[in-house]
């Protein structure tokens, strides 16, 4: 099982690749809605990408209020 830091790193890599943002511009405590400029459809896309990548289920309601990569990584880590 990956460590929490590895999970966080994978999320940052995945977000950078999917939304075509330089990886170095993303930091763990960034508000990803602002940094990536996500609308509701892109948020769903990100959710699906994460579920497919980590092979986990992430119920939408568990992610409500989550806006930074570090907290998101914690939610995923809890389901690995």
């Amino acid at each position: 099982m990956p460590t929490a830091e590895q999970t966080l790193d994978e999320i940052l890599n995945l977000a950078a690749a999917h939304f075509r943002v330089p990886r170095e511009k993303l930091a763990p405590d960034d508000d990803f809605f602002k940094t990536l400029g996500l609308d509701s459809l892109q948020t769903l896309d990100l959710l699906t990408k994460l579920e497919n990548h980590f092979r986990v289920e992430l119920p939408d309601y568990e992610l409500q209020g989550v806006s930074d990569f570090r907290t998101l990584a914690g939610k995923i880590q809890a389901r690995l």
Binding site: S40, L41, L44, T48, E51, N52, D60, Y61
Partner: protein, 290 residues
Amino acid sequence: MLGEMLGTTKDTKVREGKLESKLVSGCGGSALSWTLAEGVIELALHRAPCNELGSASLEELEKFASALESMQAETHALIIYSKLKPGFCAGADLRELYQQSQTMDKAEAVKGVRDFLERIHRVLNLIDAAPLTTIAAVHGVTFGGGFELALACDLIIADKMARFCFPELRLGLIPGFGGIPRLKRDLGNAVVRDLLLTGRSFNATKAQQIGLVSQVVGEGEALRAARAMATQLRKFDRATVATAKKFIKPIPHEELRQEIDIFCELFTRPAVQAGLRKFVESTDAQPYLP
């Protein structure tokens, strides 16, 4: 050689919009259009932003349903797909529903809603019972009424980025386009409860695990996979397919009628107007959640 083995032809004759003399006219409206080629109808949804189903879409769906009745005797398969990037269909046009309900008194609004539901049920029942194999090729957002449209089809092929959701409870409503009876018919009641009572969305992999989705394919590949399936379906005798389908896929008419009654009863409650207003005015990243 491989093409012959797979049953493909070199000279595919596409009749778009205006079908040839023995068939009915097609429809190339703003919300949807269809083509018929080699016994396969393709119904494309293309109303931005994500094929929300309002009165204009319903009128075009009714025209399509009428044409389908004329075409189905010579057709093996129907593929329904979206041409829009965000997804297959985001469901009912809630903005239109909200705006219309603001201009009417309660009794008039309920009457309008019932009329809309009865009309869309007629269309979806016709697709559900069509004596040919129907395939929903979905990607992205497949929510609410869009999910219900897919459920009327015999098979769902999903792009791996597809998501399914019944978010209606957030509005103080239940799905109104036949979703609950059809999902209950096809899967266990526990799945219906999970989707409906939590309002959470499922991805394509989960949907396949529970038996909702026939095939999961790569991004942008759902229509191609549906066409490959349709090619295979051309090999089967139409009458046998129609008989088999009638046997294995009964329409849950009684529950569908109950669904309309329950929806209309719930629609009169103040919570619905509040839910619709919240949705229409929302800037939330996940507006489909309560």
